[in-house]
Symmetry: C2
Subunit: 80 residues, 2 copies
């Protein structure tokens, strides 16, 4: 199930056909990268659409999951 891309980054999962979560090594630090890819000459290449989170930013994201869920529900109750 684990895959590696051409740069040796670990592809953890796909969020959609074109979107992946990867772990990148940046100067000995891990980055959690959530990114869209595009196809060119049969290769899948990373696009600018995406963000690579440091461990601190990834931790902040995880910690805020309940707040994110709450905000999604709130947004949905407004638009209904």
């Amino acid at each position: 199930n684990k895959e590696f891309d051409d740069d040796g980054d670990v592809i953890v999962c796909r969020l959609s056909e074109r979107r992946r979560v990867m772990i990148q090594d940046f100067r000995g630090k891990s980055l959690v990268s959530i990114r869209e890819f595009y196809k060119k000459d049969g290769k899948e290449l990373p696009s600018a659409k995406g963000i690579s989170l440091t461990e601190e930013q990834w931790s902040a994201l995880k910690k805020n999951i309940p707040n994110i869920e709450k905000a999604v529900r709130k947004m949905e109750s407004h638009t209904m």
Copy 2:
């Protein structure tokens, strides 16, 4: 603690000084947007650095948190 930006999107949290998680309303569907901002003329504007996840993609991300954590630890044991 809740803030709204100029487009009426909900700012859920900041991951760093420049990076935010927001909930956007896109045609009645919520998007979880993780994005970097930049300052221009005293305003904070969204940059291209970021990704807006549909609810399906956000669910897939959440479900994969244990796999992401595992991959981070694996990457770190390799670089040490």
